[in-house]
Every structure is written in C-alpha cells, then in structure tokens.
Symmetry: C2
Subunit: 150 residues, 2 copies
Amino acid sequence: MLRVSRLTDYATVVMTCIAAHPSDVLSTAQIADEARLELPTVSKLLKLLGHAGLVESFRGVNGGYRLARPAEAISLADIVEAMEGPIGMTECSVAQGQCDRQAQCGVSDSWRSVSGAIGGVLRAMTLAQMLAGRPTAPAKDATQVAQANA
Amino acid sequence: MLRVSRLTDYATVVMTCIAAHPSDVLSTAQIADEARLELPTVSKLLKLLGHAGLVESFRGVNGGYRLARPAEAISLADIVEAMEGPIGMTECSVAQGQCDRQAQCGVSDSWRSVSGAIGGVLRAMTLAQMLAGRPTAPAKDATQVAQANA
DNA sequence: TCAATACCGGACCAAAATGGTACTGTTTTC
DNA sequence: GAAAACAGTACCATTTTGGTCCGGTATTGA
Ligand code: FES
Ligand code: FES
C-alpha cells in the first residue's frame, strides 16, 4: 500500500496536539487524552520524537513536552524520519552495497530519484499547515470539507 | 523507512527486463535468469503483474510474458499499485470509517494531500525512463558510472 | 495422440516487523 | 522525603512479508 507505519500517523496527531498549545508544557497524560490515544503508546512516541530533537522534555512534577522549534520549522519529513529513519523507497537504495545485484540493477537510480522527489513532498508539508486543517474548536465549515474532497 | 516492499522493487526489475525485449515473448525462466532472481519469486511477481493487466501471458510451449502496453504507457505508479494496492500513506486515509478517531483527527486531510502528491511523482516515472538507465549490453561506460554516483 | 513445455491458482511456512504493554530507574518539585 | 512525570528497556502477541511448493490446465509439435 506504500504506507507509513501507524505509529508515524499517530506521531503526527500527537505533534499537532502539542503544536495546538504553543508555549505550554503538556504532560504525556494530557496529550494522550487530547489525542485519544493510549498513554503508553503516546509515551513511546514522545520518546522517539524527543530523541530526534523535535520536542523538548522536562522531568519532574509539572514536567512534560513542548515543541523544540516553532511549528513552521517542523516538516512532515522530520516526523517521518524521526519514526522510520531515513526516507528511501527501496532497501537497496539506502544500504549501498547491501544488494549483490546492484551492479546489474539499473532501476536503483530511478528509485533514488523518486525517493528524492517524495522527500521533497514531505519536506514541503509543515506542522503548521497540518495544524491549520485541525481547528481546536469543533467547528467544521464548508471550506474544509471541500478541501478534504479535493 | 517509508519504503516500498522488496517484492515491488523486484517487480520493477522484472518489468525493465521484459521491456528490454519488446515484441518478444519471454518465459519465466528467461526472465528470472536475466533479472538474477529466483524462479518461483519471478513467477509470483508475473502472476500479480498479469492480474493487474501490465503484462500479457501466453500458455503452452513457447509461452511466456510480454508487456501489455508500450513501456512509455506504464508508470511506476502502475507497478506499485499492482503489487501493493492503492497508494495511500496511512491506514486511516484509505479505509474510510475504519478509524473511530477520524472525526476528531485533523491530520487525515493533510495525509491525503501528500498521498496525492506522491501518487503524482510515481505516475510521472515511466517504465521507459527506468529502462533508459539500464542498457541491455553489458557495457558500462564512464557516463553511466557518473550518473549512478550522482 | 501424446508428451513436453509453461502458465494458473492455490496453499503453505518461516522469519521479521509491528503494535502494544509493563516494569524499573531517575529527575524534579513541593 | 514523597509524589509526579519522564527515561530506558525488555517483553510478547499479532500481522505482514518473503519465499517455496504442488496439482491443474492450456498449447505446441512430433
Ligand atoms: S539494487 Fe538490489 S535489486 Fe536493484
Ligand atoms: S483518522 Fe485515524 S488517526 Fe487520523
């Protein structure tokens, strides 16, 4: 299906939740509640995201997480890479010299090319843009519905 | 890693092999030999590709496979969809109504948007283009090496 | 006619990735 | 020093993936 893992999907949800409360330190429990996800799962996600430098963590009472950078400076590519490692469409094209067919195989160049293009697509989508489609208020007007069906 | 399955990668290799011999019916064994892949694997791939209408099959002695359309009319998106089903980045965005969080979740629109963009990238790469980087002759001159390292 | 070739449609299995959970530290606040 | 909250890691169940095999059928040509 050429899909991203479900955890990565959840990671974007979590990130938009955090981005919705800028300059606020949210605990894992708060985030899990708002994102409608299980707490242990959210905990794991935040650990990964923190390790990638996308969120800052604060320990102790009243600790929690906060965006490490403004939402405009975080792209979907950042999140995907944090969760799944470097973006590459084929096993062969990331691990150079892994595949013994590489000498004869001419498609690897093409795959590398499309991987680059897809990386560009992911880099073009920022967290701020994703947040724009998800209003904090439960309002959902016609413009957004039209955009969804486009 | 946001990757396509290895079988899909192999499918592109197989397709370029077939495309390298236009208007020739190649047996599974010939294709497997040329693609340096195991015969049962190639057999499975060709079954999938045939089912998707990308290759024509001929039974009996001297049977085999041939492209169903000219290489210019077959895109990478066709091959990926033949192997992995419809292109969609997240589970949620393909199976509408599957995820009970969908009402609250605002990121699905964004994901659908990037899925569309990535579909475009895949549709833009044709089998003919992929073949161009893989000469039939075993010659490998400097220009190709340079291109490979680009 | 009949045997050889070669695709068709499955079933089948082992190994790996995934999703999810739990538990034990460590740091900070009050 | 007790409670809150993150850090790290280990663990397991399930699913997906990659790969193989076999009996069936159609076509060719001697
Ligand atoms: S490089 Fe491994 S199959 Fe192409
Ligand atoms: S629709 Fe399922 S998590 Fe967004």
